[in-house]
Amino acid sequence: MAFYRAHVLVCCGNTCSMRGGAALLQQLARLVEEKGLKDEVRVVETGCLGISEHGPAMVVYPEGVIYARVKAADLPEIVEEHLLKGRPVQRLMYRGPQAPKMEPETKVTYFGKQQKIVLRNCGIIDPRSIEEYIAVGGYQALGKALTEMTPMQVVEEVKKSGLRGRGGAAFPAALKWEAVADAPGREKVVVCNADEGEPGNFKDRLIMEGDPHSVIEAMAIAGYAVGARHGYVYIRGEYRQSVENFERAIAVAREMGLLGSNIFDSGFDFDITVYKGAGAYVCGEETALIESLEGHRGEPRLKPPFPVTHGLWGMPTLVNNVETLACVPPIISNGAYWFSGIGTEFSKGTKIFSPCGDVLLPGVIEAPFGITVREVLFDIAGGSRSGADIKAVLVGGPSGVMIGPESFDRKFAFEDLSPGAGALIVMDETRCAVDVVANCLKFFAHESCGQCVPCREGCKRVRDIVYGWTRGEGDELELDMVRRVGINMRLASRCGLGQFAPVALLSAMELFPEEFRAHVVDKRCPAGVCPMDSVVSVKEEQLSWQR
């Protein structure tokens, strides 16, 4: 095996690819060869580094220096200065566009406050290489589970770890695993929910592009634990690269006997099928996902019965989010005791957050539960990008609650401030809460499956009314009307989509009552964002009369 003195991992994740990551990689490899460094420096493709807005990106090891916004013209300098002479190129190092250079303290907190468990391999290994995954300890957990543990012991380990779902619902994973394991039925199935539809979430994409084997291994462990011999990964249709990476990884795993019959000579069979979604957020709801897998309209089912007893084609089905599953191999390898030592009393382990919007360093980070909002926004994500104060954060995406600075010292934990699936959409003072909320409602109105009245009709009405407010329409009565409909959706909707769609609106109205009143009553947008063009046209008419 060749030993290299340096590795350059070029991000070929979704966004960097779109910006020419692949071409950069080839060019860099060529330059490295031209300089005679081919046997000393290895140029490798890797998955998303999690700093999407600042791509194309690459990371140079052993220093761990991340270069952002790399252009083809920068490559000779990187090769000459850094790879040949050992002098990292300061101007290209990862920092915000208008902010001062990344101070050592910031670097410490940015990396120091994070703890990469799920993302341990992303940006470090070549996702196409199963050998690299194995080299960093991959498939050890599966081996341990199959050869040293009984299925019940695996479930116990997950239970002791305190692992809770990472897709937003935070249900204790072991309860689901146990229910499926105990459910009557010869055939059972594991489903990985990779629909990742929440705007502002791109963490599952990272995992699937950068470390697909971790999910494959996790699904196999889960299958062993609950008695399933087959797994499905439901990947949203838009994630073409994730689908490709996954299918490639499954094929390679099969070749090596890590999927298929008699894995590790244990007598356990397990295989995985990839299934593509077709553009419906509602299919992230586990029963709608199952309906879609069955070839039906992606409409949520009634619960009870729950998928754990009656799921895919009536079989007991375990549905878990990508991130939840990715926690499993480390739990088995390092033990539940280790995992439960991280985090808080009721929220164990780490969580991936995706701060985005008006922050200096948007991207994907991973930190233990218990970290405060302030730490994530400022210490890790670098605070406001523009310099204007941070006004509010949508915690969990459009289906999440809007919080203001007075809540920034709250801890991210299911028992305190639930992070949902981790999206943190940051708004600074230049943003208008009404405008942001209108956008959220537009999303839900588009994605509602349409089965039940509160959501189908409610989303439409509330969306139209709030959009009207951004145009200067509406009156004071609508403030209360919208609240009533929102509460109706919270209480009477048939599924989680309808129940959580109005949360952003209701919390924003509580947080910024004056801003809403200004729009509706004074026909004024304090942030100066909303077009208010109905008012203008009324004024025009009045003026034309006067003429």
């Binding site: 009634l302 009870p304 039940c452 439409k460 919270r490 129940q499």
Partner: protein, 586 residues
């Protein structure tokens, strides 16, 4: 079934495990308003009207879907619940046309009922209403999608109970529509016009094609001789339209009311039901003796005929070639009867009152002109006929009993039981047995073919020959039988199929609502009428005997074939699509 005790509104209620809160509450006499729930259908929980408050749950579950549990504490009318129902109704009304005054469901609409019940005086939401064009492509059913509240009852009935599935949900969210796929016209789909969708629809989104205006015109025209015939099942349900309890036989009142409307003759489809039995009984005997296609299957349900033409065209030879009683009547009216009383058949208008929606399609079939004219001119459903009476201020419930006109108003008990599932089979067996053996059946009540089981079987020993009979009602049950016939596993001699649950008494044109309870009451009414009739066997009907003597000659004779028998046409809409696809491949 294990018992479960829960608390509803502070009262302990005993329920059975597996029941829903709605079922338990209804059984205990506790009212919970509903919209999308229907006793015939699996609950969907989409309208959210029947939400209740359950201790320990943050969200409000729907009573129609929530399974009872020991110790559950339910409140059905808390302020939260009432507010939720109110907003749901307001949201529905905001997206609904406001032409109640001229709507076919004015005062019978379930949405209107909820609006009144909840005291809604103001619809807060102004704004877009979804607009979709009406579908008037078929002779039986009109779709008004603007009035659809997306309760999915029609979809559930069409898929689960009728196994036709010609309508479904398309698009999502606000754009959701229910109808045929790809915006097709209903007439171009596999729709069999059974009208169960119309019967279950809570609003005016689905209605029947109503010929009332043309009938009034005919009645007004001194030049026209207007005859009305009434189906067996109609007399067991007509009273419901006038506030009478379900299951009240109103034969005499119905005749009186129709006479008052101005019909020149009030006749009875039961007469030709008897005729059908003589013809079909003879046909069955002939097939048994001569090795004809067996099992023979009844052909009086036009929804069923459409179904077999669409889905099992290869089984068409099994059908009896007899027309339905409605069509036999029309053919005879404009030949035999017109001649008998010296009326020009060109001036005769034959109106039928049917529990059926598919009969509107049936009378338009090109082969139904055996008399040289359109044999049956107009078909009214029970609901439409009642509406005409109300327009003329005729209150059926207050009429004095009158008798049908003769001779086409004379019938037997065997004729009236056509209205119930198993009735045709029973009537046929009563006659066939005697025709073959020369003896009367030991009991005229063949209970094995009666009742609401989806598929019923009976074996009747006819002089040593085992006649194996099967009866199905509801097209999903018919499908089960047809699959057996197709695979060769069925060893029946004679099969009766009725498209509608319960038989004609549960037809698409009957009074609304239709529920298992109401249909059972109509069933009991029909058998009680049969029991009380002086003659209970079709072949003993003196008017039928006279008909053969004077006109037809003998059963299956030349005249019968000309007027009383028909042929069938495969009509799968998919054939057209397959042909087009093949053409494009060439």
């Amino acid at each position: 079934m294990a018992k479960v005790t829960l608390t509803i509104n502070g009262r302990p209620v005993e329920a059975e495990e597996g029941q829903t809160v709605l079922q338990a509450a209804t059984a205990a006499g506790i009212y919970i308003p509903t919209l999308c729930a229907h006793p015939d259908l699996r609950p969907q929980g989409v309208c959210r009207i029947c939400v209740v408050e359950v201790k320990g749950q943050r969200v409000l579950p729907t009573a129609c879907t929530l399974p009872v549990a020991e110790g559950m504490v339910v409140e059905t009318h808390t302020p939260n619940v009432r507010e939720a129902r109110r907003i749901v109704t307001e949201l529905l009304l905001a997206n609904h046309p406001t032409d109640c005054l001229t709507c076919s469901r004015n005062q019978t609409c379930e949405l209107q009922k909820l609006a009144k019940e909840f005291g809604i005086r103001h619809i807060a939401f102004e704004g877009e209403k979804r607009h979709l064009d009406p579908d008037t492509s078929s002779p039986s059913i009109i779709r008004n999608p603007d009035k659809c509240v997306l309760c999915q009852r029609c979809v559930r009935v069409c898929h689960e109970i009728q196994s036709v599935g010609c309508i479904f949900t398309s698009n999502r969210g606000w754009e959701t529509e229910i109808g045929p796929p790809f915006g097709m016209d209903l007439a171009k789909t596999a729709c069999v016009y059974c009208g169960q969708c119309v019967a279950h629809c809570p609003t005016g989104a689905l209605e029947t094609v109503n010929p009332s205006e043309q009938i009034w015109e005919a009645l007004r025209d001194p030049d026209k001789f207007v005859i009305v015939q009434t189906a067996p099942a109609v007399r067991a349900a007509f009273g419901e339209e006038f506030g009478m309890p379900p299951g009240t036989p109103v034969t005499g009142k119905m005749v009186a009311a129709l006479r008052q409307m101005g019909f020149d003759r009030v006749f009875d489809t039961d007469f030709t039901a008897d005729l059908t039995i003589v013809e079909e009984g003879s046909e069955l005997i002939k097939r048994i003796k001569e090795g004809g296609t067996l099992p023979m299957i009844t052909s009086c349900s036009p929804g069923w005929i459409n179904f077999i033409e669409v889905f099992y065209p290869d089984l068409l030879p099994h059908l009896s070639t007899c027309k339905s009683p409605q069509q036999m009547f029309g053919a005879l009216a404009k030949t035999y009867y017109a001649h008998k009383i010296g009326v020009d058949p060109a001036k005769m208008v034959v109106v039928s009152i049917m529990p059926c929606v598919a009969k509107k399609f049936e009378c338009e079939r090109p082969e139904m002109r055996s008399s040289g004219y359109k044999d049956v001119d107009y078909v009214l459903t029970t609901r439409e006929a009642a509406q005409m009476m109300k327009e003329a201020s005729i209150d059926l419930s207050r009429m004095e009993d009158e008798e049908f006109d003769k001779p086409l108003g004379i019938s037997t008990g065997a004729g009236v039981i056509f209205g119930a599932t198993g009735g045709v089979m029973e009537a046929a067996l009563r006659t066939a047995y005697e025709l073959i053996t020369g003896k009367e059946l030991p009991s005229l009540d063949i209970t094995a073919v009666r009742g609401m089981d989806g598929v019923k079987e009976a074996v009747v020993d006819v002089d040593g020959v085992q006649v194996k009979a099967a009866v199905a009602h509801g097209l999903a049950n018919a499908r089960k039988l047809m699959d057996l016939v197709q695979s060769g596993e069925a060893d029946y001699t004679f099969i009766e199929v009725m498209a509608c649950p319960g038989g004609c008494l549960g037809g698409g044109g009957q009074p609304q609502p239709t529920t298992p309870e109401i249909r059972m009451k109509r069933l009991q009414a029909i058998y009680s009428i049969d029991k009380d009739m002086p003659i209970r066997k079709s072949h003993e009907n003196p008017a039928i005997q006279e008909l053969y003597r004077e006109f037809l000659g003998e059963p299956l004779g030349h005249k019968s074939h000309e007027l009383l028998h028909t042929h069938y046409t495969p009509r799968s809409p998919y054939l057209e699509i397959e042909e087009e696809q093949e053409k494009s491949l060439v």
